[in-house]
């Protein structure tokens, strides 16, 4: 049997029963569409998370204080609570470690900030000029904190755009105005550019002040809450991380690295941890969608079995006029594959549209990859073969005499 004859036969059979073919295809359409849409959204979520981690800065190593322990009591107050890191540690890292492009010490805490009758609760970050390099911060108007202001504990503040909007109104001029943090006056000297982001951990919702000012007037003490170090490239991150650990252990006079009073965190680790979480979620979602594809496949098998029964006499006739078993089984198998392939194609388009629409409704930008399209085609064809095989075999092995007598 020639290929074009086969397709003519299949077209005539499928179009001869449009309603049933359509409903059967629908099962596959829904399965494929949900796989495409969910995988696309999973991919989008993964990209969004990676992007937001990258927006903190690149090639970062974060040094945090270790847990505070009561003397002899073994009670831990939680990681990061100890006051073990000082500005001197940050300076030592800056002058002793090679392959780094910036070191930013940070003291941060949330405070109620007021200005011109408005108030907001925001993250007040005490830091140094290097923060702009390390944290990818750029200035929209005015300037960032300068060395003199750090040395002189000046009461100046740089606002994130969201905080500016909250305090002075959207897009309003804030330069030279005064804000109150914890009942102390600060002069606004700059506003940073928006990094984008939303919700709980919005990088645009922050106030930056000199680190010394934060220590003297707000937090008290010499301690800092975090040192962010940026390595010059991704390749040197591991070495830099190890060097910092060695340096700080020596400075803190700790010989056993297991009892270190600080911890370091590598940005690559965060990215890969977050990626693996979203990948797992995507696989889970795709698995759930795959179940509907399985149900669709059973629908195909059901329809093909009905078709074979209905067309028993036709099969008998085809055999009587010389069709081989392989001709018959190929015809019915290809019919099933055509159904699932059609369903797969429509499903891909529908899944793509769904992902586009969802991307507009929620903040995740869905991404349909070539891989997921090829996978969808592959899976739908495989479903056709798997669920079409049994009905096709049944058709091929029918006894022609009994088939011709079938009522």
């Amino acid at each position: 049997m020639k290929i074009q004859d086969l397709f003519k036969e299949i077209f005539s059979a499928i179009s001869g029963n449009k309603g049933r073919s359509g409903l059967t295809i629908l099962g596959i359409v829904i399965g494929i569409a949900s796989v495409i849409a969910l995988v696309s959204l999973g991919q989008g979520a993964k990209n969004a998370i990676q992007k937001s981690i990258q927006s903190i800065g690149s090639n970062l190593i974060i040094v945090m204080p270790g847990a505070q322990r009561g003397i002899g009591a073994g009670i831990s107050a939680g990681r990061g609570s100890a006051q073990t890191l000082t500005l001197a540690d940050a300076d030592a890292i800056k002058s002793n470690i090679s392959n780094i492009s910036g070191v930013a010490a940070v003291v941060s805490r949330r405070y109620q900030v007021t200005a011109a009758g408005n108030n907001t609760n925001t993250n007040v970050i005490g830091t140094v000029p290097d923060y702009t390099t390390v944290d990818n911060e750029t200035i929209a108007t005015g300037s960032f904190i300068a060395d003199e202001q750090v040395n002189g504990s000046s009461k100046v503040a740089v606002l994130g755009p969201t905080t500016r909007d909250d305090l002075f109104g959207s897009g309003a001029e804030a330069l030279g105005k005064s804000i109150r943090i914890n009942n102390q006056n600060f002069k606004v000297i700059g506003v940073t550019t928006s990094k984008g982001g939303s919700g709980f951990n919005n990088p645009d919702d922050a106030v930056y002040i000199p680190i010394t000012t934060a220590q003297h007037y707000l937090a008290g003490g010499n301690y800092i809450s975090e040192i962010t170090v940026s390595a010059i490239d991704q390749a040197s991150m591991t070495t830099v991380q190890a060097d910092i650990t060695t340096l700080l252990l020596a400075r803190h006079q700790i010989s056993n690295s297991a009892s270190a009073d600080f911890s370091t965190l590598n940005q690559n680790d965060i990215v890969s941890a977050a990626s693996s979480v979203t990948s797992t979620l995507t696989t889970l979602l795709a698995g759930i969608a795959g179940i509907s594809l399985l149900v669709g496949g059973i629908g195909i098998m059901n329809m093909m079995l009905t078709t074979v029964t209905e067309r028993t006499r036709e099969i008998g006739l085809r055999k009587a006029i010389g069709a081989k078993r392989s001709d018959i089984s190929l015809q019915f198998l290809m019919e099933a594959i055509t159904l699932t392939f059609l369903g797969g194609t429509i499903g891909i388009v529908l899944g793509w549209l769904t992902s586009l629409i969802l991307s507009r409704l929620i903040s995740i930008q869905g991404q349909v990859t070539l891989f997921s399209i090829l996978l969808a085609f592959g899976v739908s064809t495989a479903v056709g073969i798997i669920f079409g095989y049994y009905p096709a075999r049944r058709a091929a092995t029918l006894n022609p005499i009994e088939a011709l007598r079938y009522e």
Binding site: M1, K2, D5, E9, S12, G16, R313, E314, G316, L317, R318, K319, A320, I321, G322, A323, K324, R325, S326, D327, P400, I401, L404
Partner: protein, 225 residues
């Protein structure tokens, strides 16, 4: 050209063995027009199935063009049917959703004949059975019974088979229609086609030139008409 020697066919239903054909031997030559008659249960349908290579005998040998079909596998039997045998059934067995022309071309699907040639062959076959051209593109279920059976004959004829088997071809037709169908068979036989007609109606069998009567799985008589 076809010859069977002591063909026996036994069916088993549970523990009961039924002998449908009992050592039937016969020979049909080219250009013959044979009617196989007999009451229902005489084994004439089973005989036709074996002669038509749709079924195989339990014992005995069946030679088609001198070749022992007992040695044929499934695919070789299918090929024999495709190349040498045409079937006409009582209930026509046309594809309802296809046009007359497509129905007639159906056997050609399984041979490697080019598209243009197929349409020509189908047209010739339809012309030969006397179906008017205006019906060629109608769906087959829009025709009368007599017309449908002539389409079925054209289908049996289209691959120019050595022998045509007709199983009660007039069983579903009114007298006038049935007359027309039998005239077609006579005409085809005059053109040189070998025809084997299975029927239980004696006046239909009178159209043939030789009549084989079966009874209880054995040949009762074999006479020229």
């Amino acid at each position: 050209m076809i010859e069977c020697k002591e063909i026996t066919k036994v069916y088993q239903t549970g523990d009961v063995l039924t002998t449908v054909l009992n050592k039937v031997s016969l020979r049909i030559d080219d250009r013959e027009f044979v009617a196989i008659v007999g009451p229902s249960g005489s084994g004439k349908s089973t005989l036709m199935h074996i002669l038509g290579a749709l079924d195989t005998p339990t014992s005995g040998k069946y030679f088609f063009d001198g070749k022992d079909t007992g040695t044929f596998d499934d695919n070789e039997l299918a090929e024999l049917r495709r190349k040498k045998i045409g079937f006409v059934f009582q209930s026509f067995n046309l594809l309802a959703r296809a046009t007359v022309l497509r129905n007639v071309m159906l056997p050609l699907l399984y041979s490697k004949i080019p598209d243009s040639e197929r349409e020509k062959l189908a047209n010739e076959a339809l012309n030969n059975v006397g179906l008017e051209k205006e019906h060629y593109y109608k769906l087959s279920n829009q025709l009368s019974g007599g017309q449908m059976q002539r389409v079925a004959i054209a289908r049996a004829l289209v691959n120019n088979p050595a022998i045509i088997f007709a199983d009660e071809p007039t069983g579903n037709l009114a007298t006038k229609q049935s007359q027309m169908v039998m005239n077609t068979f006579r005409k085809l036989n005059e053109q040189g086609h070998t025809i084997v007609l299975i029927t239980h109606e004696h006046d239909v069998a009178q159209n043939a030139k030789r009549m084989i009567s079966l009874r209880d799985g054995q040949i009762e008589s074999d006479v020229a008409i």
